[in-house]
Symmetry: C2
Subunit: 334 residues, 2 copies
């Protein structure tokens, strides 16, 4: 079992008010690089930030790392358009950072990354993979891709108060800039990815198409961004079985209809609850308030913990321990 | 515990008769990329070759991968000058493939890679690391570096019949081309690395200096190339404890005096014997004949297996199983 995390960036994240993935816009561009290091080493090594939101909510990489300490799986990070260096080992698929989707051609590397990641997925000898993402601003590009495919539906947010109207405006501007109407990219996932998507969606969708077609069992670990990956894979003609594992925080989001997404894209959906309600540790309390919700394979990691019989109380304990290690020597959040 | 493998290339390997690390010169340039994939995934994924020598001796990556399936350690591959793509995740330190050491300035990225790898080593949160290499032609550049530092001593070979005179000629030409006499680079490891070394030695030596100085326990896993790494770290002023773990095949090599190397560079030396003598499986028999000997952390992996109480018979069984998986679908060696 291998967790494959696609880490990248889009300048769409710099649009005011879209994302909580990082304390501030300057730090946010480092978040995927830091997430990769937290996943692989337990702490940032080269990245100059610890991704903690202004309210003190840590990156979900903390939860995934905690589960990795308790359950038995490999992790592999794919450089799906990182803008800042990382000391984590990464697989190369030729992806470059995405531009603001309101540009005319924001992700020119999308078709190449899709193809390279598809080949990587096809050749990887694992029997089972879990696919995850880390990209600030990624729910907006997910909405862009879904809209371009003609699959418009709600998307989640890393903010408790989802700026969905703002996202719709951005997506409308993005389609305009590319001369596309909603649905114009149906059956053409690479067009959607290049014009209104991001390099993480491009790499992850290619990987899923390649892995699933070669007989590897694929679980999409995440929220609406992974629903967009499923939609892209379906529009690429994939008809193999796919699973989706996410957290209760996404499932409880009124902006998201996981049941219909599961039905439309033929996904076997698993929802896990890490039991963060009623906790008062900074590592977990903000999740219960609806912040962050998902990312870096958190839902998939929790599902793996569950499958291996690791009690959620043990996971929470390890989450606190990873978090405490992480902020040790830092000024701390808030 | 983390095994950190430095994977790279030098065009010195293209000089006739120096190396057995690959079936033929065209395939040899892919060996480190394939080794990284075998270590991480158990099989080549993107590399178009299975590194097996003309006589059928498989790359020592097979042994290290086998132990990784049985013992508990993480692996990280550093891109220390790969010339061909790999699907394995790699850490970037700015190293580029090395040119033939008989050029005037064969490794211009050596000082930068040394510095970047040193910082990586310093910041890595692990308590203990094991350092390994994969680079065809690497014993010749090791001899070059040792000579430039004024530490000339015998070096081992991946060939049963060590072409040591040929290596000495190449090193003499290399020193000439750079206007250096033996010993001219004493106390200046970066000069030795840049002028007569390779990007793997540069990255590994920087990493060892950084990791050891920050209090991480360091074991050098390999033969004479790792002795060169120790010499470089000592000439960089490192006085922390260092261990060296290698195989009986290196220790038995009359060209190598491990005891004096251990004394000169203050190394705590461990030698392991995987018990390949008398075996007739292609995965192991050629090792008993003195081929390959070491590489990709084989000796260090065997020492870890020993420390964790994994019986060598179990290791041999797993080596055969990794090998059989590897050549499945291939024409097979010989």
């Amino acid at each position: 079992m291998r967790l494959v995390v696609f880490a990248g960036t889009t300048r769409t994240a710099e649009i005011d008010g879209l994302s909580a993935a990082g304390a501030d816009p300057e730090a946010m561009v480092h978040t995927p690089s830091a997430d990769a290091e937290i996943l692989e080493y337990g702490a940032p090594v080269r990245a100059p930030v610890v991704p903690v939101s202004p309210t003190g909510c840590p990156t979900p990489a903390v939860v995934t790392r905690a589960v990795r300490e308790l359950a038995d799986f490999e992790t592999t990070v794919v450089d799906a358009g990182l803008a800042e260096p990382t000391a984590a080992p990464t697989v190369t698929v030729g992806a470059r950072p995405g531009e603001d989707v309101r540009e005319e051609d924001p992700v020119p590397t999308a078709p190449g990354a899709f193809a390279a990641a598809r080949q990587f997925g096809r050749r990887l000898p694992d029997d089972e993979v879990v696919v995850a993402e880390t990209i600030p601003g990624g729910t907006t590009t997910a909405l862009g891709v879904l809209t371009a495919l003609g699959e418009e539906r709600g998307v989640s947010s890393s903010l408790p108060d989802n700026p969905i109207e703002r996202k719709r405006e951005v997506v409308a501007d993005a389609l305009d800039a590319s001369g596309l109407d909603p649905g114009d990219a149906a059956g053409d996932p690479r067009l959607a990815l290049r014009k209104v998507g991001d390099p993480v969606l491009a790499s992850a969708a290619g990987f899923v198409a390649g892995a699933a077609r070669s007989g590897t069992r694929v679980t999409l670990a995440g929220g609406t961004q992974l629903v967009a990956v499923a939609a892209l894979a379906r529009h690429a003609g994939l008809d193999s079985a796919l699973s989706l594992a996410t957290t209760r925080f996404v499932a409880d989001d009124p902006a998201v209809d996981l049941r219909s997404a599961g039905a439309d894209f033929d996904l076997d959906v698993t929802v896990t609850d890490p039991g963060f309600d009623g906790t008062d540790h900074p590592a977990t309390a903000r999740y219960a308030a609806g912040e962050a919700k998902e990312g870096v394979g958190m839902g998939g990691a929790l599902a793996l913990a569950d499958r291996e019989g690791v009690p959620m109380a043990r996971v929470r304990e390890e989450v606190r321990s990873v978090y405490d290690e992480l902020v040790e020597g830092e000024d701390g959040p808030g």
